[in-house]
């Protein structure tokens, strides 16, 4: 059987010792940098990246070569290249794995980026919660300096380049490039309106090129193997591979790297080994808090930037969470909204207040108090937030709501009209009931109820007072006769 995965960005992860530069060099490490510095002009190297079709792996999907070219064209006495290692999507750890397993590939790509754009300084913005990644990156930077791949007169070509590390405090919004730059400058991690784009005026108002870890990890391979090779992988508009953190109710939870154009079905049922305990597939969430939930009918879509957006989700940085019947889609939307409300920087009102109101509506619905008007309000408010927010965080935060409304409207309706949660997740909509036919009056449930909500005479059917019941489920667990059920 043909193998579905192809490891480009992860080529050295789990293969080399990340703390030994020799092992990186042995696998063609720093060869791309050598080639670019010795044999290519910045323009020619950028042309290779452009033609390869590489697009930003942080989620935006902007052409990497074009971004480099714009930064190169701006004239300035100092320019910067920045590696965005502020991985913040819940459940995503692609960038951490690359930095922990293959830090030199990022250093090499940043130096290539510096040469191409005319920058002699690189900055890695990494979250402080990644201590091992930071440690290995520091070791790699020290080795690269000692071996002559960083510093002055690199490989005897007269090119100078150095890298510094900047720590992020783990704010989700700092993954947005303008907020990231402000955070590095010591200012509040808040986004600003573009233009000016960082490529024109970024860090310390100098032209700054920001790329994500995974994007960088692809660069040396493209130089070494040629743009034709890279452009031969993937779909028409999305080239190469994408790393996903596959999680949720799936058998083989793990990190995977697949060529663009692989279908969700192949990822979930072949690479991921299908759902745990033979459960039924219900949805797959891609793109983290900015993405959406896709359903059965989307499984055969070839994964690429444009197809995922057309389906109402997005590539994002690469989180992929598989869900089964036990997941309530309204609650899932609420979970992501709660995250966004927490992480919104508060600068613009649509995001600060809009998301909060959106979250409250979802709380109302999952709490059993939703009205039909709330469903319309959810949709309208989502569109307003999307259209009017300042940065990518707010512009995408309603996606989990919109995509679940689109794909799982029936579940929203059940919560509002029937006051029912089919997945038995929303406690306010659940009612524990004792089947009088099956109950033999053993009193076990009553003795285990923490709030004394169960009454009844010995050897007679018992009764649960719905006013008192806190829906903990202890009674159902204890009952030996299967007499307690959820309505």
């Amino acid at each position: 059987m043909a193998k579905k995965q192809l490891r480009i960005a992860l080529r050295n992860c789990g293969v080399i010792d990340p703390e030994r530069i020799e092992e990186y060099i042995e696998r063609d490490g720093y060869l791309a940098l050598g080639k670019v510095l010795t044999e290519l002009s910045p323009e020619a190297a950028i042309e290779i990246i452009k033609k390869s079709g590489l697009r930003g792996r942080g989620g935006g999907g902007f052409s990497t070569g074009l971004k480099w070219d714009i930064t190169r064209r701006v004239k300035a006495d100092q320019k910067y290249v920045v590696c965005n290692a502020d991985e913040g999507d819940p459940g995503a750890f692609m960038d951490r794995s690359v930095l922990e397993g293959d830090p030199h590939s990022v250093i090499e790509a940043m130096a290539i980026n510096g040469y191409c754009t005319g920058a002699s300084k690189g900055l890695v913005y990494i979250r402080a919660e990644y201590p091992l990644a930071i440690e290995r990156l520091k070791i790699a930077m020290k080795q690269a300096s000692e071996w002559g791949f960083l510093g002055t007169n690199i490989l005897g070509t007269g090119f100078n380049f150095e890298i510094e590390i900047r720590y992020g405090a783990g704010a989700f919004v700092c993954g947005e490039e303008t907020a990231l730059i402000h955070s590095m400058e010591g200012l509040r991690g808040e986004p600003t309106v573009k233009p000016p784009f960082p490529s024109e005026s970024g860090y310390l108002e100098k032209p700054t090129n920001v790329n994500n870890v995974e994007t960088y990890a692809n660069v040396p391979v493209i130089i070494n193997k040629g743009w034709e090779w890279f452009a031969g992988i993937g779909t028409e508009k999305s080239k190469g591979t994408k790393v996903f953190a596959l999680a949720g109710k799936i058998n083989k939870v793990g990190l995977i790297e697949v060529p663009m154009g692989t279908t969700l079905r192949e990822v979930i049922f072949e690479i991921g080994g299908g759902l745990q305990d033979g459960a039924t597939f219900k949805a797959v969430q891609t793109g983290g808090p900015s993405g959406g939930c896709l359903m059965e009918k989307h499984l055969d879509i070839p994964i690429d930037y444009d197809n995922l957006i057309a389906a109402g989700s997005m590539m994002g940085s690469g989180g992929m969470i598989v869900m089964d019947d036990a997941n309530c889609m309204v609650s899932i939307a609420k979970f992501y909204l709660e995250f966004t409300v927490e992480e919104s920087c508060g600068k613009c009102s649509p995001c600060r207040i809009g998301n909060k109101r959106l979250f409250e509506l979802l709380e109302k619905i999952t709490g059993g108090n939703g009205t039909p008007e709330d469903l319309d309000k959810l949709r309208n408010l989502s569109h307003v937030i999307k259209d009017t927010s300042l940065c990518g965080l707010g512009q995408t935060s309603p996606n989990p709501v919109l995509s679940t409304l689109e794909n799982f409207y029936e579940e929203y309706r059940e919560h509002v009209f029937d006051k029912k949660c089919r997945s038995s997740v929303c406690k306010s909509l659940m009612m524990y009931i004792i089947d009088a036919e099956k109950c033999i009056g053993c009193t076990l449930c009553a003795r285990n109820c923490p709030v004394n909500a169960i009454t009844g005479e010995r050897k007679l059917a018992h009764y649960i007072d719905p006013e008192k019941c806190i829906k903990c489920g202890a009674c159902m667990e204890k009952c030996k006769f299967g007499a307690i059920f959820i309505n």
Binding site: R11, G14, I16, S97, E100
Partner: protein, 132 residues
Amino acid sequence: MTRITSLKDLQRLRDDLKAQTSARSDKANPDSIIQVKVAMATCGIASGARPVMDYMKEELEKRNIHALVTQTGCMCYCYAEPTIEVTIPGKEPVVFGFVTTKKADEIIERYIRKGETVEGIIARDYETIDSK
């Protein structure tokens, strides 16, 4: 430590390193050696890779088996951590999942010493940039 000052030097160094590595796994070479790689990313360490790595190092030495135990990054099999890769000269590398110290003992005694098949092998399900 060598400071590399030209592309040519770099290429030469790479070729030397490649030759050394292939000699290490060449059965015919008297200096060939058994290689064990332990996946030591944050996630691997969290699921117990460090004691497994220490155990492998100590026990292989105690049992007089000439082997090189090194750390590596994430092997991407999160569901089966801790994972290790064992390469016996002349054979393809084999990845084992769910490796505890008890399992490590079985791998040393049965797979490394006797060449028997041991349960828990994870088949490689990806292509590399060299094969594609």
